[in-house]
């Protein structure tokens, strides 16, 4: 399964409002910046794609080495961007990637989106501002542990 993954919610104007690094692998020192770079770079493609399709879930829109970027675009054009590394075992790659997409789909669509909506319902939360709720954070990480 994916050993390292990064999950970022990006509001409009490319401002990250939530970041979580999840995954079982031991963290590398520069992992955080690498993930940020990759996901940031993928926004170009998301911006192209998001307006051409009605699908909310866009899988494997970009990749960098073994990291594959998938995105879930909400109706308000908030992006849940995530990258996973796919273990480069040639035989299984295809299948595994597919598995991971399915997981990500469940992860972001089913539950993180729901959590995000709950955050939005909070009258004290200003849409587009950083999500500082520790509850949200623990929930997302728990979900990540469940799926990844």
């Amino acid at each position: 399964m994916a050993t390292t993954a990064c999950f970022i919610i990006v509001s409009r104007n490319d401002i990250p409002i939530y970041e979580a690094e999840v995954g079982s692998a031991t963290k590398r020192e520069d992992a955080a910046q690498m993930h940020q770079f990759i996901l940031h770079a993928a926004l170009d493609i998301v911006q192209d794609l998001a307006w051409t399709t009605s699908a909310m879930y866009l899988k494997a829109i970009d990749r960098f080495n073994d990291l594959v970027v998938s995105v879930y675009v909400t109706a308000g054009h908030i992006l849940c961007v995530s990258d996973f590394n796919c273990v480069s075992d040639k035989k299984n790659t295809e299948k595994m990637e597919n598995d991971i997409y399915v997981i990500f789909f469940a992860f972001s669509v089913g539950e993180v989106h729901e959590l995000y909506i709950k955050i939005l319902l909070n009258p004290l939360y200003l849409p587009g501002s950083r999500i500082a709720s520790s509850h949200f954070d623990t929930k997302v990480r728990a979900l990540a542990r469940k799926y990844l």
């Binding site: 490319d14 401002i15 990250p16 020192e29 955080a32 910046q33 940020q36 770079f37 990759i38 940031h40 770079a41 993928a42 926004l43 170009d44 493609i45 192209d48």
Partner: protein
């Protein structure tokens, strides 16, 4: 489309041209070197034909004319694949050179991204990429599988000086010198050969040469031989105006020397030679080859295609694990022939044929893709990647041509090799492709720039790294993606640091300082690098936007003293409204003051009514919070304020000019704010000037060190020395001793709250930090000595207030007020030297207590002749008593007026603020019930609980306040309370008898005048009002509760309870319990009280001074003003055989109220009493009544009722009856008694309880007495007391 006009076409035309191999003897080279040129270099300028105009026929016999043609000449030794290492070096060199040239604009600010987008394509990507790409392609030339680089012809050159030139020609073809391509058989060895004889005209006439030429023609055939004469210019050196060799000479020797022996004849001769070679030999030869090959392939074409394909793939696959040489296709193989055919056709411009042939090899791919696929199949270790690179580059050019930049970028990315430098260049090119794509993909652009820059940096190509990172900075400017921002700025900062451009490095490093999201190690790294750069720069930087530490602007707090001065720093934390409510009685009100001081002040300060006022020589304190966002400690030094003090404009200005001055000030403010918001260097310059100008004010400097994540409130002061207008601009500090940071308060001050804005919000925000400095004034400093911070409730202490005035000008008219008079009482001046607590003891000579001068509203006026000045402090006694447990904020305000009337302020106020924590000590409750069978006497049940944590408390004395009470113990103290001290958590209770003092009764009887009684009562010492609770406490004099501190506190307690002192004469009784905490380790009760006394008095005064005074106020509990007592026999002997027994009683009723009371006595014989009672009780509660008292009475009545029931219920008929009328009514005057006779009849012996009667009383207020307390009930019912009578048979 003309292929020559696109970069792809140009590149292909340049790169895919026939190669001519040149074999020459050393002497040829020697002759050429006279012109500083090699042979090939000499020929090169003439190898490029734009208009050669040679007729060619395609394979399908269509004639066309070839216009553009180019030959590439190579020595035989160069016709081999370049060594990889050498190639790398060469590439590196190219990159480094490009970097050197690029130096010019390194230090400029990165362009804005919109500008970059607006600039044209050619400006975006650096021009040296083309050179690099060419070099990169060159590294893979002369591969065996491509026919482009296979020599089409071979030119052998021999000098006329050579001996036996014919043999030389033969020798040159000696195979061991020929390139491996020919020897390996990858190429057809039967290539076109051409023979050239070079004659140097300097060596003599050309006759010998012509002779050799003839010989050659005989030997090698007529067509293939040429004579080339060079160096024809004999003496003079020829300057070539437009030197044709210059572009072909790679190593830069002075270009005018090139070809200086070659005159125009040589020139033409060379030109002709090449022209002839191309048009007459090479092109026809190639054309012929194409035809031949085409025929061969055509012959086998049918059904051949799939076969070839299969063969191709199969071979590729099975050969992969083979030796490193891989499959070898000899020239004769079909595949090779196809390839050669295709390439030749391509070179001859017969693109259709070429394409069909390439399609044959791989139909599904376009031309470039085919190459790439081919290269992929031919994967031979690392070289395979290089082919891929070249193919990729061509492919990219093609994509670029089609404006498919995005795809081009992906190709660039894919041809990145492991080799860092190479991939750096590729990534950089990829990034430009992303930029050029439509719409521009800026995110990708930035990302690839960073990737590339990172690689450049790793290869020490610092300048390239800076270029790429700088472009990246323009993409990521102001990005909220924190890690990205940090990475970019950190690396570009480091790069600039490497180059020694510390200023630029510094500005970039500044950006990464506030990296609280990073890990601790990274933070350390960032800070270390930052400091290194600062250190290397060797100067002190001044930065307006230093992000370390973070300044919490909302924490900004300004403390200054105008007419309000503060004794302690904490005083400012009290709300202004609290102070003002305290002060309102002391400050002279406006109407009275208008005549003098306000006018004076308004004259002095006409135009700055809104500004704050401060006094010269007195410090303004600013508290501001510095927060370290990092996890690592940082040190900050020289924190100080930035201030500006301008002298006041002329004070005697007329109103008009004043107003303009005001406007001017406003404008100045606006200017300032503009400057600040743009945050440019002007302010910085200003700041420096201001700092240097320290003569008019002095600043404090603070050094702090902040641990990880720590926040520190820094106190800064500025003390103006001269009059004028002081503006606090901002704060400056030094980070790690080398970087000076500035922070301007004005920039976003609007949001800030001011700690003590006394003028309500109409003031413009910046005015909060602007002060008018007025001339120095006397200022009182006050201090209360030894005020405890923590005390037990009831703690009584003697304190001294010290007031000091450092200035020479005296102050006068001192007034003082405390916020909690219950806690702090102002003493008399003579109390100052009293010995405490001995002063509390009763003295034999009692002087009447003279009240201290308390003006209205509790303001204490100091004696008018008192003035404080100079070194002599004013000492004044205070009494402190912790009244109630809890946290108390105690304020003391002292008002004083200037002795000098001419000063700008007439009065000032000293504010003192103390926080006290009062702990609970003794919890005392009293329960007072009428003493049965005694008139005017009460039983007092006192419960004392020690609520302290650990203190043992000795209870000393209980006193009653109020002139007419006497109190005494019911039992000796030894029996009820043997240990004498109360340990923490313990409780004890004891009973007292409280009765109305006889003296007063007598007085009443005699005088019968209320007013005289009250006024005179205090003159009498009341011996009976104190009870000592220590066994031998009589030895020490009891404490006098009627004297100043205790009596004063008592009054305030009463005020607190809302009881008017006048009501003293009524039923209320006040108790004062005096106790003393013991030393916790002392043996309780062992030392006798006297010893403790003396001991403390002598040695341990501190201990001794602890005295707990509990003042409790209780009413005498009986709700009714009516008391009565039943008087009669207790036992009786009677002979029941003769008759029933009649017994007489007397009931004495006393009316303690001030009203006339009408009383109805009802005797009851049945149990119906309870019902009746409850009815009455409930009826009584209707309407307005005092809840607490009603409750008491109810409980009481409840108890009694139960009692009645118990005694009565077992028997249905009462064993005795009341005789006489069942209801008797009497009227009692105020404070008088009356008697009612009672009689019962008893029918049988036994013990009887005669409590079954009820007194209904009703008060009628006396007319002349204006006060009927709401607290007393006007009517009520009282149940009878138990009265036990025993009747015995008389036998």
């Amino acid at each position: 489309m003309d292929p020559a006009k696109t970069s792809l076409g140009k590149m292909l035309l340049e790169e895919i041209t026939p190669v001519v191999m040149v074999l020459r003897t050393p002497l040829v080279e020697e002759s050429c070197l006279k012109n500083s040129l090699s042979f090939i270099e000499m020929l090169s300028p003439f190898c490029d034909f734009n208009n050669i105009d040679v007729p060619v026929r395609t394979s399908s016999d269509q004639p066309y004319r070839l216009q553009k043609f180019k030959l590439r000449l190579f020595y035989e030794s160069d016709i081999k694949q370049p060594d990889i290492v050498v190639a790398k070096e060469r590439l590196k060199q190219v990159i480094t050179e490009a970097g050197e040239k690029d130096r010019s604009d390194l230090s400029t600010d990165p362009l804005d991204i919109s500008n970059i987008l607006a600039s044209s394509k050619s400006e975006i990507s650096p021009s040296w990429f083309e050179i690099f790409n060419k070099e990169l392609v060159r590294t893979v030339s002369f591969s065996e599988h491509e026919a482009f680089d296979h020599p089409v012809a071979c030119v052998s050159v021999v000098s006329s000086k050579d001996e036996q030139p014919i043999n030389k020609f033969v020798d040159l073809f000696n195979t061991n010198k020929l390139p491996s391509l020919l020897n390996d058989g990858a190429m057809d060895p039967k290539i076109l050969k051409h023979y050239v004889l070079v004659h140097d005209n300097k060596d003599g006439s050309s006759e010998k040469a012509t002779k050799i030429l003839t010989e050659m023609k005989n030997t090698f055939g007529f067509n293939g031989c040429h004579l080339l004469c060079i160096n024809s210019s004999q003496d003079e050196q020829i300057e070539h105006q437009d030197n044709p060799w210059a572009p072909y000479k790679f190593d830069s020797s002075p270009s005018q020397d090139l070809g200086h022996y070659l005159n125009i004849d040589d020139f033409n001769e060379i030109k002709d030679l090449i022209q002839e070679l191309s048009s007459k030999h090479i092109i026809p030869y190639m054309e012929q080859r194409v035809r031949v090959l085409n025929q061969q392939i055509s012959a086998t074409r049918k059904g051949f295609r799939n076969q070839i394909k299969n063969l191709w793939w199969r071979k590729g696959k099975e050969d992969t694990p083979d030796s490193s040489n891989g499959p070898m296709y000899t020239y004769s193989s079909v595949e090779s022939q196809i390839r050669v055919l295709g390439d030749y056709a391509f070179m001859l411009g017969d693109y259709e044929l070429a394409l069909s042939n390439y399609r044959l090899i791989s139909t599904d791919y376009k031309i470039d893709k085919a190459w790439k696929r081919y290269a992929g199949v031919q994967k031979l270790g690392s070289s395979g990647r290089q082919y891929a690179t070249r193919c990729g580059l061509w492919w990219i050019e093609m994509l670029k041509m089609k404006d498919q930049f995005k795809e081009a970028a992906t190709v660039y990315f894919r041809i990145c090799s492991e080799e860092l430098l190479h991939s750096a260049v590729m990534l950089e090119q990829a990034s430009y492709c992303y930029l050029l794509s439509q719409p521009p993909m800026l995110h990708k652009y930035g990302f690839h720039l960073v990737l590339s820059g990172d690689r450049y940096k790793k290869c020490d190509q610092i300048k390239h790294a800076i270029r790429t990172y700088r472009n990246a900075v323009s993409v990521y400017k102001g990005t909220p993606w924190s890690y990205i921002k940090d990475h970019v700025h950190f690396h570009i900062g480091q790069c600039y640091g490497f180059l020694g451009m510390y200023d630029v490095a510094f500005t970039h490093m500044l950006e990464v300082l506030a990296c609280s999201h990073q890990s601790k190690a990274t933070q350390e790294l960032f800070l270390r690098e930052f400091l290194q750069i600062v250190q290397k720069a060797g100067k002190t930087f001044e930065v307006l936007t230093l992000q370390l530490p973070v300044i919490n602007t909302s924490s900004l707090k300004v403390d200054f003293e105008d007419h309000r001065t503060y004794a302690l720093p904490g005083s400012t934390s009290v709300k202004e409204s609290v102070w003002r409510s305290l002060e309102e009685d002391m400050i002279p009100s406006l109407p009275t003051a208008r005549t003098n001081w306000l006018e004076l002040q308004s004259k002095l300060l006409p135009k700055h009514k809104e500004s704050n006022i401060c006094v010269a020589g007195e410090a303004i304190k600013i508290a501001i919070e510095f927060k370290n966002p990092l996890e690592i400690p940082i040190s900050i030094s020289s924190v100080s304020l930035i201030c500006e003090l301008s002298a006041t404009s002329d004070e005697t200005n007329s109103d008009a000019s004043c107003s303009t001055a005001g406007i001017w000030n406003n404008e100045e403010h606006e200017n300032l704010s503009v400057i600040v918001t743009t945050a440019n260097l002007i302010l910085l310059a200003n700041c420096r000037e201001i700092i240097s100008d320290t003569s008019s004010f002095s600043l404090s400097e603070v050094n702090i060190s902040l641990g990880g994540g720590e926040a520190n409130l820094v106190q800064l002061t500025v003390t103006p020395k001269v009059e004028g207008i002081l503006k606090i601009v901002g704060v400056r500090w030094k980070l790690s001793g080398s970087v000076v940071g500035f922070y301007s308060f004005g920039s976003n001050y609007v949001k800030k709250k001011i700690a003590k804005g006394r003028r309500k919000a109409k003031q413009s925000p910046s005015n909060y930090l602007e002060f008018i400095v007025i001339q120095s004034l006397p200022k009182l400093e006050g201090f209360i000595h030894a005020l405890p911070e923590k005390a037990y409730a009831g703690h009584l202490q003697h304190l001294v207030l010290e007031l000091r005035n450092r200035s020479e000008v005296s102050v006068k008219n001192l007034k003082m007020k405390t916020s909690h008079p219950r806690f702090l009482n102002i003493g008399k001046q003579e109390d100052l030297d009293l010995e405490f607590p001995a002063c509390l003891e009763k003295k034999t000579n009692v002087s009447p207590p003279a009240n201290p001068k308390i003006a209205s509203h509790g303001v204490f006026l100091f004696p008018e002749d008192l003035s404080v000045q100079g070194e002599n402090p004013l000492l004044w006694p205070l009494w402190f008593r912790a009244a109630v447990p809890g946290n108390i904020s105690l304020q003391v305000v002292i008002y004083y007026e200037m002795g000098d009337l001419s000063s700008a302020m007439r009065y000032r106020i000293l504010r003192m603020h103390y926080n006290l924590q009062v702990l609970p000590s003794l919890d005392v409750s009293f329960k007072i019930s009428p003493y049965p069978s005694r008139l005017q006497e009460f039983l007092v049940h006192m419960d004392v609980v020690n609520k302290t944590n650990s203190e043992s408390i000795q209870v000393n004395q209980l006193s009653t306040i109020g002139s007419h009470w006497e109190i005494s113990l019911l039992q000796p103290i030894d029996t009820i309370f043997p240990s004498q001290s109360l340990i923490a958590g313990r409780a004890f209770s004891c009973f007292f008898v409280l009765k109305v003092g006889t003296r007063i009764c007598i007085f009443r009887v005699v005088g019968n005048q209320l007013s005289t009684e009250e006024s005179t009562s205090s003159l009498f010492p009341h011996i009976g009002s104190n009870v000592s609770l220590v066994p031998d406490g009589s030895k020490g004099a009891p404490f006098d509760t009627s004297k100043s501190p205790l009596a004063g506190f008592h009054d305030y307690e009463r005020l607190q309870h809302g009881i008017l002192i006048r009501l003293e004469a009524e039923n209320a009784v006040d108790f004062i319990l005096i106790s003393r905490p013991l030393k916790s380790n002392a043996q309780p009760g062992v030392a006798d009280a006297h010893h403790v006394f003396s001991h403390h008095a002598c040695h341990c005064r501190q201990e001794y001074t602890k005295l707990l005074i509990i003042i409790s106020i209780y009413s005498t509990a009986s709700t009714s003003p009516i008391t009565w007592v039943v008087d009669g026999p207790r036992t009786r002997h009677h002979d029941f055989s003769s008759s029933f027994c009649e017994i007489n009683f007397r009931m004495t009723i006393y009316n303690s109220s001030n009203a006339l009371a009408s009383i109805v006595l009802k005797t009851l014989d049945s149990t119906s009493i309870s019902d009746q009672l409850s009815d009455e009780a409930s009826g009584n509660q209707v309407g307005w009544h005092d809840v607490s008292l009603a409750k008491d009475s109810k409980i009481e009545s409840e108890a009694l009722r139960n009692h009645v029931r118990k005694s009565l219920l077992p028997e249905s008929v009462s064993p005795f009856i009341w005789s006489g009328s069942s209801s008797t009514g009497v009227q009692i005057k105020p404070l008088s008694t009356t008697e009612i006779p009672l009689q019962i009849c008893v029918f049988s012996p036994g013990t009887y309880d005669l409590s079954n009667y009820v007194l209904n009383w009703n008060l009628q207020p006396v007319k002349d007495h204006e006060n009927v307390g709401e607290r007393t009930q006007s009517s009520g019912t009282s149940l009878g007391y138990p009265y036990y009578l025993t009747v015995l048979p008389s036998d």
